[in-house]
């Protein structure tokens, strides 16, 4: 069964550094997402992406964050100047269409900011 692939599984970075989290969505899916889960908290929406542009973003997704689909298969989340509070599991997801269509999640990247 096709799956969403995320790399790396664990990323450790120093505060103030930039990180790029990578995702390969399911190949026939058209909608892409990033969610995160801070330890002990809910899974929360960050951003959705369709047709090479952001379609919706949450309050969390400020100027520190950006997303890109640099080629036909990868979908990336860049965090500039990381903060301690960015430490979380970051999940990429994709869906085949908008609305009434389940999101399929990758296994996540655990980001630790020290």
């Amino acid at each position: 069964e096709p799956e969403v692939t995320q790399t790396p599984s664990h990323q450790v970075t120093q505060m103030g550094q930039e990180v790029i989290l990578r995702c390969v969505p399911i190949s026939n899916h058209l909608y892409f997402y990033w969610y995160r889960q801070i330890l002990g908290q809910k899974v929360e929406f960050l951003v959705s992406f369709y047709n090479n542009e952001i379609s919706e973003k949450s309050e969390i997704f400020d100027d520190q964050f950006s997303v890109e689909r640099p080629d036909g298969s990868n979908f990336t989340l860049k965090i500039r100047s990381t903060k301690l509070e960015d430490s979380a599991m970051y999940f990429c997801a994709s869906s085949v269409r908008q609305g009434n269509s389940p999101l399929h999640f990758g296994n996540g990247t655990r980001l630790t900011v020290t």
């Binding site: 809910k42 929360e44 929406f45 379609s55 999940f91 997801a93 999640f105």
Partner: protein
């Protein structure tokens, strides 16, 4: 933000019996609901969904019930198996919206 609530943080059920997980929501704009299962060190895995035009959806051992007037949904797993031990999240979204709002999860433990 408590738009989706799972009031039971944990649940233990004997193998072979029925597991019932509950979820309440407050936002009347939600009309598509999903259940996800999550093992440690893995991402959420989609289990089953229901749209607001239905009150029940069944897929094998999993059945989701939706009570719109009570703003309540439940997931029934029968019979429960040891491999069902995981954290279960309910999530909700307005139909044309891409943003899922998740509950806090219920840890289900199936006792052999």
């Amino acid at each position: 933000d408590q738009q989706v609530k799972q009031n039971s943080p944990s649940l233990s059920v004997q193998e072979g019996r029925i597991s019932i997980l509950n979820c309440d929501y407050t936002n009347s704009m939600f009309d598509y609901f999903l259940w996800y299962k999550k093992y440690p060190a893995e991402g959420p895995t989609f289990l089953i969904s229901i749209s607001s035009i239905k009150d029940k959806n069944e897929d094998g051992r999993f059945t989701v019930f939706l009570n719109k007037s009570a703003k309540h949904l439940s997931l029934h797993i029968v019979p429960s198996q040891p491999g069902d031990s995981a954290v279960y999240f309910c999530a909700a979204t307005p139909m044309r919206n891409e943003k899922l709002t998740f509950g806090t999860g219920t840890r289900l433990t199936i006792i052999p």
